[in-house]
Symmetry: C2
Subunit: 308 residues, 2 copies
């Protein structure tokens, strides 16, 4: 339907996101050739076997040679290094984009080594699963999700336009934001939820009075939704927290303050204040359903049975 | 398959749990007659219209008259009062059970008014959805879930056996626990997850820098799983926290302590400690999948896409 957007796309980093982009580009015929590369020889071998790229390159240089678009899809902490490894080999007039969950720190890192003849469009597809690795990718991962672009000094209008067309063709809606704003929006909608999920699973594992088998057995009470989030890739998330430190610590401070207030209501039996607080949250939930951002649960109920 | 277990069952409280029990009992033919009652005239009228009981009584007395089994399914804070209202009318040799998410406090309340000629089996089906009210009930809510019974001084072996057969017939697996142990197990697997979910949704709503529409748009990043939990019934949850105060405050204290440790790792760039912590949690997730407690997500991946 969309037709070919690029002659040659290179994807550096073949985990969940990189492999899903490759699947999606091939499935929709968005490029004549998709070349893949990953710093891990093991991942390269598995990706070659899976066959979602036309070709798996053995070096970063070979991967990006003559590519019109290079997509870097590695953990946020490795982006600077990955770009440094390909920088000298990027074609004149080509476009570099990446998919990191943090934008300000990544833009700073990329700017250090990117040559002037390459346009840079920072991006972040807000999509994923708790699976990771090249086996986890699939063509429809980005369908119906949002992709945020955060143009910077190195972005040209033409490059922004082309990257926008890629994400739109992959099924996403594209929104543009300032990098700093992106980082605070994602801190509350994604980074802090993950930190809290990782934390509660750890707290549960350490409770002497409760066995792990009991935690698992009774996880339908609400806990399992947290474990799903807390199963995400540890390296990716380590990098997110280290690279979005300022926004994460700011939002975390507010979260802890609010939690202390709830704790105090419980201690002092302030039932009315608790009930008022719990009643406020239903409107936001309703909004998410209406916005189609919870497709797994279209009727606001049954499939995700939990609670009590 | 199971056949009739009771001649007459009375269900007091026709919200999600009460109406689901009625649906399940009727669908499986577990009782000749199911009589329903709710303190709210409006709920009684809606339940009569929906027709999941054979008869809706106008008074608690009329509801429990001649019932072999009375199931009280009201918020934990209202259980004592609900039992007081029916106590004098309970048939000799009948069984009272309830479904509260807190057991120690409920047992104390029920014991105050329950006549000696009635056996009492405290129970807790660990199942639910974020929906509430008589319209939310369905026959299979308890299918594949756990039901915890916490026998007390007022439980007879015969009554425990009969209530066990009811839950088994409704599709649940039954486990027996000490009431105090139940309350700490549920504090970590259910009560604290709900409190945290309610809390983060409140924190998000209060952030000046981020609009509610942005929170909704980018909720696929992890936040939406919390809003699902935070949409649960406010009155039910108020009562849970007020009635399981001791266990909730204990576990919450540990949660906050652990979160402060993660916060410190972020502030001091301790990437290794973060990664180690995040890696521990995958085993627990795996256990939940293996135990069949996340049926909505059988292949550990796609349907619940989130993250990043």
């Amino acid at each position: 339907m969309t037709g070919r957007l690029f002659d040659r796309i290179a994807i550096v980093g073949l985990g969940l996101i990189g492999s899903s982009i490759a699947h999606g580009v091939k499935a929709r015929g968005l490029a004549a050739t998709v070349v893949g590369y990953d710093a891990s020889a093991d991942v390269r071998a598995r990706a070659a076997e899976l066959g979602f790229c036309d070709h798996i390159a053995d070096t970063p240089e070979a991967a990006v040679k003559d590519a019109e678009l290079v997509v870097v899809a590695v953990p946020v902490g490795a982006t600077g290094e990955a770009v440094a490894a390909i920088a000298r080999h990027l074609a004149k007039g080509s476009i570099l984009t990446e998919v990191g969950s943090v934008k300000t720190a990544v833009i700073r890192q990329v700017a250090e080594t990117l040559p002037d003849h390459v346009a840079f469009v920072p991006g972040h597809p807000v999509a994923g699963t708790e699976r990771s690795g090249p086996e986890a990718g699939f063509a429809d991962l980005f369908e119906g999700r949002w992709c945020v672009l955060t143009p910077c000094e190195r972005s040209t209008d033409e490059a922004i336009e082309k990257v926008t067309r890629l994400w739109t063709a992959l099924g996403s809606q594209v929104e543009t934001m300032e990098p700093e704003h992106h980082d605070i929006v994602l801190a509350i909608t994604s980074h802090i939820p993950h930190l809290i999920a990782y934390n509660i699973v750890g707290t549960a594992a350490d409770l002497e009075e409760v066995t792990q088998s009991e935690v698992i057995k009774f996880s339908a009470g609400g806990f399992r939704d947290f474990t799903r989030i807390a199963a995400s890739d540890p390296v990716m998330w380590r990098d997110v927290f280290l690279n979005n430190k300022e926004a994460v610590l700011e939002v975390l401070g507010r979260f802890s303050e609010d939690l202390a207030a709830l704790q105090r209501m419980i201690r002092w039996d302030d039932g009315q204040a608790l009930q008022d607080h719990f009643s406020r949250t239903r409107a936001i939930r309703r909004g998410i359903i209406d916005a189609g951002q919870d497709t797994a649960d279209p009727d606001f109920g049954r499939p995700h049975g939990h609670d009590d």
